[in-house]
Symmetry: C2
Subunit: 337 residues, 2 copies
């Protein structure tokens, strides 16, 4: 069997079987990040994110600092999704021998632009001749036993997502020329910067970790709300219901989708790379969360609730209609859906 037959999810399931998780590894292959209990007041949280030319980025249309910036955001977002604080990043740089030193410098400048404000230092790595790629391993800490996994959602929990979705995909469509013409400048600028310079949502995760009742489960929206919500529900062994009118679609994404005659919701459900946080929280904690977010000036939207597994994963409309959460999303070893 080939990897393309198996798909990325199938491969990760196999790798989980091939590897082991016993102390001090509390969480191994399969969540946003691994959790290691090393004694002391804090657990280690570690995640690796690979970025490869012509899969994750294109050097013909993206400057090097943007490539580095986006790669570091993707890596650090996995720490935010565990409720962890970042410390350090390790970068394996694959580059052709004829790459310009200035290009590589710009990659690092882009990475530092995201890492530094998050208190994360590039503390090591490796350099090797090869097709251009950046593999970033990030290391963070979380108070012992408090990492927020994908697997803790329980029936009755409320589902929230931070920020607004679809902006990065809208920006990608604009920059690649796929979007219809006539997008107002303010939306064009917002979507492009959303795609080019996204940030990990440590502001949101820090707020969540200070709540008296923290989230029961969390994941970052890397591959689109549909696929990442599915991952959270599958890891938790639950179902869910999402009220589509409550899904926060970015204004620029809405404008760009409508210009193409597309349902704006599709950009939010399938777009990916917005790096917002999707989380479940016990119903009794919802009020505190919303109050804290309001005080902090951070946007979080209640989009639905966690159901029993047998109830499936559904999108519902105010008119009472209901459909299954789409399977669409990004798979590195299969075709783009």
């Amino acid at each position: 069997m080939k990897l393309s037959d198996l798909g990325e999810g199938g491969l990760i399931d196999l790798i989980r079987d091939w590897t082991s998780s016993r102390p001090p590894v509390v969480v191994g292959v399969g969540d946003d990040a691994a959790v290691l209990e090393i004694g002391g007041a804090e657990d280690l949280v570690i995640s690796t994110d690979a970025s490869v030319e012509n899969v994750h980025f294109r050097t013909d249309i993206q400057p090097a600092d943007e490539i580095g910036h986006r790669a570091m955001t993707g890596a650090l977002s996995d720490l935010a999704a565990m409720g962890a604080t970042g410390i350090a990043a390790f970068v394996a740089l694959h580059a052709p021998p004829d790459a310009a030193v200035e290009f590589v410098h710009d990659l690092y400048r882009g990475m530092e632009r995201v890492a530094s404000p998050a208190g994360v230092q590039v503390a090591g790595g490796d350099t090797v001749r090869g097709a251009l790629a950046l593999d970033i391993t990030v290391v963070g800490v979380v108070p012992r036993g408090r990492a927020v996994l994908r697997s803790g959602a329980r029936e009755g929990d409320r589902l929230y997502v931070s920020g607004a979705l679809g902006r990065s995909e809208a920006g990608r469509r604009l920059l690649s020329g796929e979007a219809a013409p006539g997008v107002p400048a303010r939306f064009r600028s917002a979507a492009e910067s959303g795609h080019r310079a996204p940030r990990p949502r440590f502001d949101v995760s820090e707020l969540l970790m200070r709540l008296p009742r923290r989230p029961t489960a969390m994941i970052d929206v890397s591959d689109g709300l549909a696929i990442d919500l599915r991952r959270l529900c599958e890891a938790s062994g639950v179902g869910c219901s999402v009220e589509v009118e409550r899904v926060p679609v970015d204004d620029a994404a809405r404008c760009i989708a409508e210009g193409e005659g597309r349902d704006p919701l599709s950009l939010a459900l399938e777009g990916g790379e917005d790096w917002e946080l999707l989380f479940a929280i016990g119903a009794e904690g919802a009020g505190d969360l919303e109050e804290a977010a309001r005080r902090a000036g951070l946007s979080v939207s209640a989009i639905g609730r966690i159901l029993a597994r047998r109830e499936g994963m559904a999108l519902t409309r105010e008119d009472g209609s209901r459909r299954e959460l789409p399977l669409a999303g990004w798979d590195h070893f299969a075709r783009r859906s």
Copy 2:
């Protein structure tokens, strides 16, 4: 300027300038591994090692388990070289979509074969479509403040190396058909397994860390004694003198070199990938070291001493002749020397 003009060492120097090292990063870019002081009784030691097809391995002549085995050894050896104990490894796997699942399974089996006896778990990583590569980030711990850096060697220290050198390069020459025919079977087998299934020397590093006087500086011999000794001396700001008759050349390597009419020492100086440990230790600790190694049945050889920087880095012979330590060694962005 291109990376090939700069060379790998020059690039790493630049990356060190581009990045920062402030607490909790105690040691950043430039040593075998980074050291992070995270509070508590132990420091974190973290290193990344990239392995790329046709640079570090060839799928046409190496089975997948050997590729995984060698990659994991190279990564973990950096922890041994800091005196650290390994905990976990994170693997970024780049693979083409038409790669066989069995091939990938064999890669992981090879990695586990080295990781598991060292108490190291593959706890995470990433999978991505691309040219075959394995980037491994390893995480270990060392008692606080006790990581052995490259930079601590002082004038008058004794220089030691564990095991014997040149075996991996001898095996590579045999397996690639470069070696002259007529190598006795026992040497052939020893050299081939030295190349195919090397092990990180945690046995040696654990012994060293239990000594009342620990090494002042240490590095693993990844690129050959000449280049790695040069790195240790440069990081420490010292010179050195190596008595070439004392350099432990592996028996199989000696036989294979002599069959080709080469100086066996050249395999030890330039061969690389033996993953032995090269270290400096205060003269007053040398007796304890040799006694402890003898009791443990581990081979360590006194090969020379640390001098003041102004005395340079020299190879000396019993006949009193002296030459500069060769510059030869592996550079990923330059040509093979």
